[in-house]
């Protein structure tokens, strides 16, 4: 479904991604782990087109991004890519001047031109599925961190993305709430979504991710089936990281 081949990203003269390759199959979850500064966020920003890659390629269905495209062509393809990829950032970036409901229907009504009523009933259904139906008329700042995160997930889902990407979704959640989030994500996957989840928390990914990818210094050290990486990592660096994280 999405395939990255030898991704290279430079910033300010430093090489942040040094040839990252992986592939995510439809309706599976890829978990990305790695120490702080290993390039996980940068990788996500390349995948959703916020950063332009300096080498390698990203393929998503029939869309292909590569470094040597012209700026206009690159951004044209990124536009197509974004129709299929939704992202929930660590800092959710909800729109503070809009209610929860308006946050969710903003893009469907103005980008996809869905009629407002239809968008609203879809949004209410989404809010119901994340347990926030009663808070549709609230403003984001009046919600708790966990509630805000579920609004951000609903906002991304409202655009019907095939792939959903998360950056550190558990950083602001207590253990009970991260368990709740995990079951929410699992039910989302069962409805046919594919996911890439960057997380520090191996406990969170355990049982959620099908595949795991361990990064260090902008490189993929090891990747494979989640249970294999967690139980019998081949590379000593992966082993170190997982032992420390546990």
């Amino acid at each position: 479904m999405i395939r990255a081949t030898d991704l290279i990203k430079n910033a300010n003269g430093a090489r942040i991604l040094r040839g990252v390759s992986f592939e995510v199959a439809p309706q599976t979850v890829l978990g990305i782990i790695g120490a702080s500064g290993s390039g996980k966020t940068t990788l996500l920003r390349c995948l959703n087109g916020l950063e332009r890659i300096d080498g390698g390629a990203i393929e998503f269905d029939s869309i292909r991004l590569e470094a040597n495209l012209s700026a206009a062509e690159y951004s044209r393809r990124v536009k197509g890519l974004r129709k299929k990829v939704g992202t929930v950032f660590q800092h959710l970036y909800l729109f503070p001047h809009l209610t929860v409901l308006a946050n969710i229907i903003e893009a469907p009504t103005h980008v996809l031109r869905v009629p407002k009523q239809q968008a609203e009933s879809e949004a209410v259904a989404l809010l119901d599925s994340v347990g926030l139906k009663e808070k549709a008329r609230r403003y984001p700042e009046t919600l708790s961190g966990g509630e805000q995160q579920r609004v951000a997930i609903a906002r991304a889902l409202a655009m019907h993305p095939a792939l959903l990407m998360f950056d550190e979704p558990t950083s602001a959640l207590d253990p009970k709430r991260s368990a709740g989030l995990r079951s929410l994500l699992r039910s989302t996957v069962s409805r046919g979504h594919t996911m890439v989840i960057v997380s520090h928390s191996i406990g969170f990914l355990e049982g959620l991710a099908d595949q795991l990818l361990y990064m260090e210094g902008g490189e993929v050290v090891e990747s494979g089936a989640a249970h294999q990486i967690l139980n019998s990592p081949r590379d000593p660096r992966t082993k170190d990281f997982i032992e420390q994280a546990k």
């Binding site: 959703n48 970036y93 729109f95 903003e106 893009a107 103005h110 008329r137 009046t142 919600l143």
Partner: protein, 496 residues
């Protein structure tokens, strides 16, 4: 070391031999030298020196009184109040002894008989007398015999601070005629190739020296000195030198030469009787002009500020530079200078606008520079993540800007925008420089004509407050309305 007693004796001796103590005090005289030709003005060849026929006359008067003249440059509109505040002791500035001024100060005997001259453009066919000006606009200096005559005759008037600007506007066809005392007219028009007299000079009035009430000894001294310089011909010599001598002046000589004492020459002096109803009506009109200028220029500022802000913020390099130059130019130079430039500078390239429109556009251009900075700061305050979240939801830059960034920036910009608007209201007073009849101009002229500085000041302040308070109130309501829904939700959140 002298004993205290001898010291006292010495002082007493000094007093005795010096005769009249006041004779040694300088003659402190006040006049407005700016645009003051030919009365008293800065010598164009020696800008630190003053010249003028009245300057020479005061020198002669002071010599006759055995004093040294000491000039206190002042402002025409506030001459009378400055005299009362003892900033100087006499006014010598072509001052007419009008009855309302006589309520505040006293006058010496006249030293000059003046007439009024009506000036029109060379091509003018229709205006041959003041009566022909009924439906025209006539320029003159504020608070003079001429301005009062126009008011009495109900002729539309533009009041100027300087003769030069009045004649300039006449040449630019912003007004149809200028009426001015003959001395100023002779100085400015006699060499002009574009202006001419509409008719022979008419009306007669006198210039007298203004003194504080109660300074009777000084008045006697000044009267005697005036007699002296009229009788010994030194005044005539000065007037002839400046081309101001005419036979009318002989009337002043006659009684003086016949030795008759203190004959005040009574002429028909037009004096504006102060009328509160009239004053309030004129203030109201001025307030309307103020509102018009303030709102009009704010609209320009708000509209023009946005492209400036975006150009300076996200535009290509050359656009960024141009916007920065614009902003720094308008913020870095006084708005007064900008207005004068627009009003007097632009006509030289064929762009002459009426004064109120010049003020409206000038203030608008000026405040656009400030508003652009308010916008830019507000736009830059929105986190980059808001843009990125919009892009990731498939929005383009225009949609993201309009729907996501702008509404958030507007809230940030609203309080400083309101502040700017209130200060813009106050800055409309700079339109005085180009003779727009707005509130501050109205206050100066009405108060100077009546001496009612306090009451009129209160009235004008009330007008300003009546205009700016609703603005501030409106802005606060808007701000609250924007936050109300959120506040309600916040309260609900507390309850839940």
């Amino acid at each position: 070391m002298p004993s205290p007693v001898s010291k006292l004796l010495w002082i007493a001796a000094c007093l005795l031999f010096s005769g009249n103590v006041s004779a040694q005090q300088p003659l402190r005289w006040g006049a407005d030298p700016s645009g003051g030709a030919p009365y008293v003005y800065n010598d164009p060849n020696h800008p630190d020196q003053y010249i003028g026929y009245e300057k020479e006359m005061v020198d002669a008067l002071a010599a006759a009184m055995g004093r040294k003249p000491e000039f206190a440059p002042s402002d025409w509109e506030t001459l009378v109040s400055a005299l009362q505040r003892k900033s100087f002791d006499v006014i010598v500035n072509g001052l007419e002894p009008t009855s309302d001024r006589q309520k505040q100060i006293q006058f010496s005997k006249p030293y000059y008989i003046f007439q009024l001259a009506l000036t029109v453009r060379n091509g003018e066919q229709q205006i041959h007398s003041l009566a022909d000006c009924k439906n025209r606009v006539v320029g003159t200096l504020g608070n003079t015999a001429a301005s009062r005559l126009l008011q009495k005759e109900n002729i539309p008037m533009r009041a100027y601070a300087e003769p030069l600007t009045a004649y300039r506007d006449l040449e630019l066809k912003r007004i149809d005629a200028v009426i001015m005392d003959v001395p100023a007219e002779v100085f400015y028009v006699s060499k002009s190739t574009t202006l001419k007299r509409a008719c022979e000079p008419f009306f007669r009035g006198t210039y007298n020296v203004g003194l504080r009430k109660g300074d009777d000894a000084l008045k006697t001294e000044v009267d005697a000195a005036i007699d002296k310089i009229i009788n010994d011909g030194s005044l005539e010599k000065i007037l002839r030198k400046w081309g101001l001598w005419n036979d009318a002046q002989l009337e002043l000589q006659k009684p003086a030469k016949a030795g008759e004492k203190n004959v005040d020459v009574g002429y028909d002096i037009t004096s504006a009787a102060f009328n509160w109803r009239e004053a309030i009506w004129r203030l109201t009109r001025a307030a309307f002009v103020t509102v018009l200028i303030a709102f009009g220029s704010m609209v320009i500022a708000l509209v023009l500020g946005m492209p400036l802000a975006i150009g300076q913020w996200k535009g290509p390099r050359p656009v960024q530079w141009l916007c920065t130059i614009y902003v720094e130019f308008f913020r870095g130079t006084p708005v007064l200078v900008q207005l004068l430039f627009l009003y007097f500078g632009l006509p030289t390239i064929g762009l002459a606008m009426p004064a109120w429109l010049t003020a409206l556009i000038g203030l608008g251009l000026n405040y656009a520079a400030y508003e652009s900075q308010v916008y830019r700061a507000a736009l830059e305050a929105i986190p980059r993540g808001q843009w990125e979240a919009s892009y990731l939801l498939g929005m383009g830059p225009v949609l993201a800007f309009r729907r996501i960034i702008l509404p958030q920036a507007f809230r940030i910009a609203l309080p400083p925008m309101t502040n700017d608007f209130v200060s813009l209201f106050k800055d409309t007073s700079t339109a005085y420089a180009i003779s727009v009849w707005e509130l501050a101009t109205a206050y100066r002229e009405l108060a100077n004509a009546s001496g009612q500085f306090l009451l009129l000041g209160v009235a004008v302040s009330l007008y300003y407050l009546a205009m700016s308070l609703p603005m501030a109130h409106l802005a606060r309501r808007l701000e609250r309305k924007l936050q109300r829904r959120e506040a309600i939700e916040a309260v609900e959140a507390e309850i839940n």
